[in-house]
Symmetry: C2
């Protein structure tokens, strides 16, 4: 070997090719970074400038955020397309027992027929700029990490407040790569958003939870909204005087489809990834976080199922929470299985070893970075001594609204004594108003028996914490007892608590919300009593957690900086809800030996999966039309079939839902709506052979619009006539 | 249309193409029928005569029966290759706690090391001829169907007895197409068969029950035996003086492999198919037989699982029966799902309609056949009034050895009063001796508690029979009661029975076997008492069943004859355990939209499936060698991989297990060992797009022999050096 560095690089390349740092397909790129990617050589057929430029925004400015989902303008009249599951809330809020739009679907045949969404906002990105200097202003070396962190947060608040002086603007300062640099994003917030069109959920949610995260998929996961502004063109509260918003850019639809290997792009707002975890950080997830969740979900879900099976009323109340738990369990299992499949632990260890060698190879690197990883390790070792206990308490509050609201009531009784600006995050006057609203809404699904059983389970889980993490408030309920006997005493304890509290009623909760700390302290309410004890026990840990946050926030940017030095270039920042472009290719995969997945599904699969029962029900009209096969110009010319969904190697995650999938000419060919099961672990590692994004084919959407729903008005508006 | 018949044929072809009567891939052909198939045009590269001819037997004479399995000679020294699951019993009988050959595998490095199989026989077909005339001798028109049937059976017995005067010959008269014609098969019965080589079951049974009937598959399902004869070359009882049998023909092994679409053949002994059922017959299966079995298995298996979970000892005793029930359930579900997938009911109805039109189209056909289908229908309508009851009783005896042996004891006390020649089938002196042996063997797995619970379930199932089929003996246990109360009384009844019988002990059963009818009648044994009542109640139904058999046996040949007239040629007879050849092609399939199954699996899948736990355990040496990838000349030249199993469109069923898979030159390229899940229904309809046979690649076998087990002696003997 002539060159040792080259040798190491090659070895690493072989070790991690197509995984940790590979750039083909992997990467959620910031818009001002696209020129570096040499996209034309990757397959892009239009100038990179057309995707984004500071002058007219480029094609990417047609892509908007719904806050948690992505979407895009598809007409000059503010028509927006997104996923069905992104429009779900808006559809649900317009549904009644008599007219269930989720079941029936909805189509407005004119602007007048469009429905209010009651709370959906559209965020149109206007500008972004690096504000790192402002954010770090006043941060001094001699400050403690906690003080530095507080200063940074204060600066960020100032920047946001200033930007939001314009009432139409929604501002956010995003920390890139754990605080390496900071970017201020300013968006137009459009508050009058209306429901235009949605298929019935037997199309839009076909396959339901069973097909969730699965391929092959046959879901028509799309819906249409429209953005409205005041007659002056500026965002306005919902009003019948408002007029359709005129976006600067909207997407053009292509019915050309795709072939295996075709270049594609997604622009959207991916939520969260953790691709650069050091071994110490990763071990927290691998050794505690995911195994604990898996164990908890398994036992908790069994309890929910038992309760649902025995009581029809509880079954209805718990249905949505149950679905959410099932989804979380599947996600957790997916990450866990992915860790195993990718041998991520071994990869991390091997990679970090090479990384450390690199740091040690040069004096200036050594001096700058050699302490970073050991310090992170020390921090995480300490973190592990109290994080599990806190995390368990978090879930205990989620699993029992009685427990959750009591904890909030206790915390609020303390915070309300402070000036608003000094309160903990989440306790501003606005936050409290929202919490009360949520309380009212969620109380509808309250099932006391379920919460009692859940609490008993979390007591059990608390006993299973390691010796140094036991929760005293729980341990002292049945001291000295174990097993069945302890469970009996604890069950009695919980029954007593629920019999002697007003937290089991909505009125009771709301009244307690207004109580002072003094009043709570002398209250006889058993649940408040228990919550006071829990909060008191957790308080020192909350302080420890703040210190940990401050310290880790100081180390992480250094760690990423060193990683970048090692990789000899910039690393795309982990997803953080900011606008990104990712590119990839249409491609199937082989999930296991002798099994090949095509990169597209067809209407054949709908007939195969159809059972007549949710989630595999389908409108009869759809089944008939599929059999008639009159797919017209929406049929794929190569396969002579109607494509339903397709697969790409695009690098996406939660938040990308509803993103437009673009072809090499920047035209809309589909909507991203899910990832395959094997892609779940991509939040931690992009495992190229297995990671796929699932998209609905825009031609299937158009065909449904034409053939099933007669949405000719919209087809015309999109220029599809 | 110029020709109406052609038009109808074309319509039918379009309706049933690739299904009911399609001949490509479908068909289990008799050896003397091969010339009609024009095999060279289908892909055969050797003269058809080389496959079978009356002179030297041809290649097919290397294929032998093991009685329930197929196998083939692969050396001039009587070396036989078959499936691991076909050699299973022989391996098991040589296993001890100390030396478990199932787990360790076994290889004899010389003739001396070969092990006795304790009961495995090899049947080498010597000749076959049509004996229809002799079988029908003395059958008169004026006889009742029952009398005719009795005469036929008598004639068959005579023919067999005569043939078996030569003590080395095993003879059988097979009824073709429900008695259209009869063929006498004479085979050499070789009684000294030894175990030569078997891989550990972690290879030979890799995937176990989970992978049973599934693709993709990775099972090394093979074992080697050797046939021995006396020094005079004639079959002899096992003895150390015996010498290896010299077969006339043995198969030559090819390591050339196959490509997608390659011509292949299987020669073997398929057990049973029912491809030509009329609508009335089919309805019996679709409306009663399979739904009843599905319901019964679901509830019965739940009971077994409950029992196994609560008692470790019972768990061991029930393991094998449980596996068998799971397999039966999967088979039953597979047929049931297949009926639905193929819309077989609709197909049958449409086809029969066309068939009836054909019969009605010509006077001579009408006169000859028009009554056949209506008569079959009448018979089956009557059959349905008592068949369910009898079938339930059959399963009751299977599910409880206490009940089963009591029923046999009662029946035998009656039969033993007759001359041997007049007794019912199954009650000859030899049969009784065998029954006693089986009783001893099976008693080891007796679990009284399980049998009590099973009986209670079958009482429940009896109550669910339609009103006209209620079993009086059971109904009168708790007259007037229903639900829980009835169950309690019946449980008490069963407990009492089991407390007051000697049928729960082996000694007791064997003693009762020797009791006279008179002694039984006055016995106080509660189970015998119950069995006497059941047998008495069933007796008239047994007589009805005999009449039904006689009548249906007279109609069925006519029905098939008419079918043949309709199809304008001969129909291959349903499988009946006689030697057949089937040909097809190497081919994958698409089980559902967007999923493609390759036609071969590779060692990659073993690594993927490996869990370290049965049934996905693998020898460490195998895992290592797979990673080393030193597959040498056994690697597939086209894919550059080691193939493990492969798929063909060959038409096979139970009994074909162990059959050699031959290439277009008649060389051995694999062993057939299973069908895919979708092929299960092929016992009723050959659904071409989905029906596949699963074969182990002979190159995987050879590689294991060379690399893992060092079976060079056998490789050399097979000419592989």
């Amino acid at each position: 070997m002539k060159n040792k560095t080259l040798f190491i690089s090659l070895t690493l390349f072989l070790l991690f090719a197509a995984s940790f740092f590979a750039l083909a397909d992997e990467g959620m790129f910031l818009l001002d970074n696209l020129q570096k990617l040499d996209l034309p050589s990757k397959g892009l057929l239009i100038p990179v400038n057309d995707l984004w430029n500071p002058q007219d925004g480029g094609i990417s400015s047609a892509v908007v955020s719904l806050g948690g989902c992505s979407a895009s303008f598809v007409s000059p009249n503010g028509l927006i397309v997104t996923n069905h599951h992104c429009g779900y809330g808006a559809i649900q809020r317009n549904s009644t027992k008599e007219k269930n739009l989720l079941e029936e679907g909805f189509l407005a045949r004119s602007l007048e027929e469009e429905l209010p969404t009651f709370g959906t906002n559209v965020y149109v990105l206007q500008s972004f700029k690096n504000v790192t200097e402002q954010v770090r202003k006043g941060v001094k070396k001699k400050m403690s990490p906690k003080e530095k962190q507080a200063m940074i947060e204060k600066n960020i608040n100032k920047i946001v407040q200033k930007a939001e002086e314009d009432k139409n603007v929604s501002a956010r300062v995003a920390s890139m790569n754990s605080g390496m640099w900071y970017v201020l994003y300013k968006s137009l917030r459009i508050k009058d958003v209306r429901l235009v069109y949605a298929p019935p959920q037997s199309i839009g949610k076909f396959g339901g939870d069973i097909d969730n995260f699965e391929w092959p998929r046959h879901t028509g996961d799309y819906s249409f909204l429209r953005a409205y502004v005041g007659p002056d063109g500026k965002p306005a509260a919902p009003s019948k005087d408002n007029v359709p918003y005129k976006p600067k850019k909207w997407l053009h639809v292509s019915t050309d489809g795709y072939a295996d290997g075709d270049f594609t792009m997604v622009i959207g707002f991916p939520g969260h990834t953790s691709r650069y975890l050091s071994v110490s950080e990763f071990n927290y997830y691998r050794n505690f976080y995911f195994p604990w969740r898996l164990n908890m979900f398994k036992r908790y879900i069994a309890l929910i199922e038992e309760r649902m099976a025995e009581n029809p009323d509880a079954s209805i109340k718990l249905a949505s929470w149950y679905a959410s738990m099932m989804n979380s369990q599947k996600y957790t299992q997916g990450v866990y299985d992915g860790f195993k499949r990718t041998h991520l632990s071994d990869q991390k260890i091997a990679m970090q070893k090479e990384f450390v060698s690199f740091i040690n190879s040069k004096k200036e690197l050594r001096e700058k970075y050699q302490d970073v990883l050991p310090q992170i390790d020390v921090l995480y070792k300490d973190y592990m001594t109290f994080a599990p206990k806190r995390y368990l308490y978090r879930w205990m509050r989620l699993a029992s609204s009685v427990m959750g609201s009591a904890a909030t009531i206790v915390k609020w009784s303390e915070e309300k004594q402070k000036k608003e600006i000094d309160r903990e995050p989440g306790y501003s006057d606005n936050d409290i108003a929202r919490r009360k609203e949520r309380m009212k809404y969620s109380f509808r699904n309250f099932d006391a028996e379920m919460e009692k059983r859940a609490l008993l389970l979390f007591f059990e889980l608390a006993h299973e914490l390691s010796d140094n993490q036991k929760i005293e408030t729980i341990e002292k309920i049945a001291p000295g007892l174990t097993g069945k006997k302890r469970r009996e005493v604890e069950k009695q304890f919980i029954d007593n608590m629920f019999a002697n509290t007003t937290c089991t009623t909505l009125d009771g909760r709301l009244k307690l919300f207004d109580a002072s700390q003094k009043e709570l302290n002398k209250s006889n309410d058993a649940v408040i009593h228990f919550a006071l004890s829990m909060e008191k026990e957790m308080k020192p840990l909350d302080e420890k957690a703040k210190t940990f946050d401050g310290e880790i926030s100081e180390l992480q940017p250094k760690y990423i900086e060193a990683l970048m030095a090692w990789k000899g270039g910039s690393l795309y920042p982990d997803a953080n809800g900011t606008k990104r472009l990712t590119f990839g290719y249409v491609k199937g995969y082989s999930p296991r030996d002798a099994v090949e997945y095509d990169d597209y599904t067809t209407t054949r699969g709908i007939l195969e999966k159809y059972t007549g029962k949710d989630p595999f029900d389908s409108p009869q009209k759809l089944l008939q039309e599929i059999k008639v096969k009159d797919f017209g110009r929406f049929k794929d010319a190569r396969t002579d079939k109607m494509h339903v969904n397709f697969l790409t190697t695009l690098d996406t995650t939660g938040g990308n839902s509803g993103s437009p999938v673009l072809n090499a000419r920047g035209e809309l060919i589909g909507l991203l709506f899910d990832g395959n099961y094997e892609s779940i672990v991509a939040d931690y590692i992009f495992d190229k052979p297995f990671t796929r994004s699932i998209c609905v084919d825009i031609r299937y959407v158009l065909w449904l619009m034409q053939k099933i729903d007669g949405a000719d008005n919209l087809l015309q508006e999109m220029g599809m006539n």
